[in-house]
């Protein structure tokens, strides 16, 4: 029997869906881009000599950095609390008090201390303004040299961290309850979405690398995998619930790497330490081998830290630079090209989000597995 007409129908439907999908993506952002370009040209008409060349690097770095307020749309911001530990103890106020000034021009006075914000960093204000109206003393590289209080603010990244904690808790409590309710039955709902991924972590990451003692480390591996994956995905959403670059923040990845480092060091058995301090080589090689092996303990988690940080940051910078091409060429006709590339890179980033979570987890498992491996 010839069934090719069914196949053809499916293919046609696929083509239609795909075209609509592409059309949606190329029309909507292009329309936005048009508005933005219009604004840019308006600005340049208003003050022709003040208009500088558009700086991609500055723009991209600003967008991947942490922030004291959360940009929603246009001139709407969610103002996040600022918590400072200063010379006079704790000080807190809303970041709205800075009037979204980020150049150190607006002073906030609390407990007899004056603060200014520049490039999302909070400084103690100078007594008098400099020639640009900033209450800061700048060095020749335009970095502020004022003293800084200890900044413990709930910033955009911290908010996203709380949000991802809530999402992880909701998802996993739901799944765990599902297993309690349906013991020995087939999974349902959210549970059937999570089960293959949890099994993937167990069968493809934990078991091959950790051997028969894998169960002890499953909670850590699952936590780290889903934390990184969810946060990578949240970082890819350009608007409100996402938008923060949490896994592209070196402090966050450092904490994750330190967790792996501690697990490796504290679970290392005598064979692991013997391999480091007394490897099976002639004794005169120890002068070289022991420092190298000792160094290796630290380079492994540092590589973990940099890998995740740099991968996610590089992805974000790439997407932002592609979008920026419109403003660099200052032409609307470049918009479809840059949007098409941005969508393409965005699709790759979805893959990278998963791969990086996978790589971090499997390398953690590998390092822990090396530390707990029995002598053979």
């Amino acid at each position: 029997m010839d069934c090719s007409h069914v196949f053809e129908f499916k293919v046609k439907r696929l083509i239609v869906v795909f075209t609509l999908f592409l059309a949606f993506f190329s029309v909507t952002p292009a329309a936005f881009a048009q508005v933005d370009t219009a604004q840019v040209t308006e600005d340049s008409h208003a003050q022709p000599e003040a208009k500088e060349k558009f700086d991609i690097g500055k723009f991209a770095l600003h967008h991947i950095a942490d922030s004291h307020s959360w940009h929603v749309i246009g001139h709407t911001y969610i103002d996040l609390p600022v918590i400072l530990y200063t010379k006079a103890g704790f000080v807190n106020f809303s970041s709205a008090d800075f009037n979204h000034d980020d150049d150190g021009k607006v002073i906030v006075e609390r407990k007899g201390q004056r603060f200014v914000k520049m490039h999302e960093k909070i400084y103690y204000a100078s007594d008098a303004a400099n020639e640009h109206g900033q209450f800061l003393s700048l060095d020749e590289k335009h970095h502020a040299s004022n003293e800084r209080p200890l900044d413990l603010s709930i910033t955009k990244n911290v908010c996203t961290l709380f949000l991802s904690i809530i999402i992880l808790l909701v998802v996993f409590i739901n799944v765990a309850n599902g297993y309690k309710k349906r013991v020995g039955k087939s999974p349902k709902g959210l549970q059937s979405w999570m089960e293959p991924i949890i099994l993937f972590v167990r069968d493809d990451i934990a078991k091959p690398n950790l051997g028969h003692k894998y169960e002890r480390f499953m909670p850590y591996l699952l936590t780290v995998f889903f934390f990184i994956w969810f946060n990578n995905m949240l970082g890819l959403i350009p608007f409100l619930p996402g938008g923060a670059n949490l896994t592209g923040n070196i402090a966050v990845t450092m904490i994750l790497a330190i967790a792996t480092f501690c697990l490796t060091v504290f679970n290392g058995n005598k064979y692991y330490w013997k391999h480091i301090f007394m490897p099976d080589v002639p004794w005169w090689m120890y002068i070289v081998m022991v420092p190298v092996e000792l160094f290796g303990i630290f380079t492994k988690p540092i590589a973990l830290m940099i890998r995740l940080f740099a991968n996610i940051t590089a992805g974000h910078i790439l997407v932002l630079s592609l979008i920026c091409l419109v403003f660099v060429f200052n032409s609307l006709y470049i918009a479809p090209v840059s949007i098409a590339f941005a969508v393409f890179i965005g699709a790759i980033e979805l893959l990278v989000a998963f791969i990086q979570a996978f790589i971090f987890t499997i390398l953690s498992a590998l390092f822990i597995g090396m530390a707990i491996e029995e002598h053979h």
Partner: protein, 70 residues
């Protein structure tokens, strides 16, 4: 007159090295999968880990280049 940082050239060189490395890894993995399609999943896992190590070196270079720029 072209202005800019020489760090960009370093990042480019690192990209060439990483490209060669990942290309070799990918190519060899393809060979391996073509010879033994039943081992595809194992080869893919090993390929990803090896690629991650190579990529890390390139990303170190990118970070150094960024820091050199800033």
């Amino acid at each position: 007159m072209i202005t800019g940082s020489i760090a960009a050239i370093g990042a480019g060189l690192a990209a060439i090295g990483a490209g060669l490395g990942i290309g070799r890894i990918g190519g060899s993995a393809m060979d391996g999968i073509a010879r033994q399609p039943e081992a595809a999943s194992k080869i893919q896992t090993a390929m990803l880990i090896a690629a991650a190590f190579v990529e890390a070196v390139a990303l170190f270079a990118v970070v150094v280049a960024l820091m050199g720029n800033g």
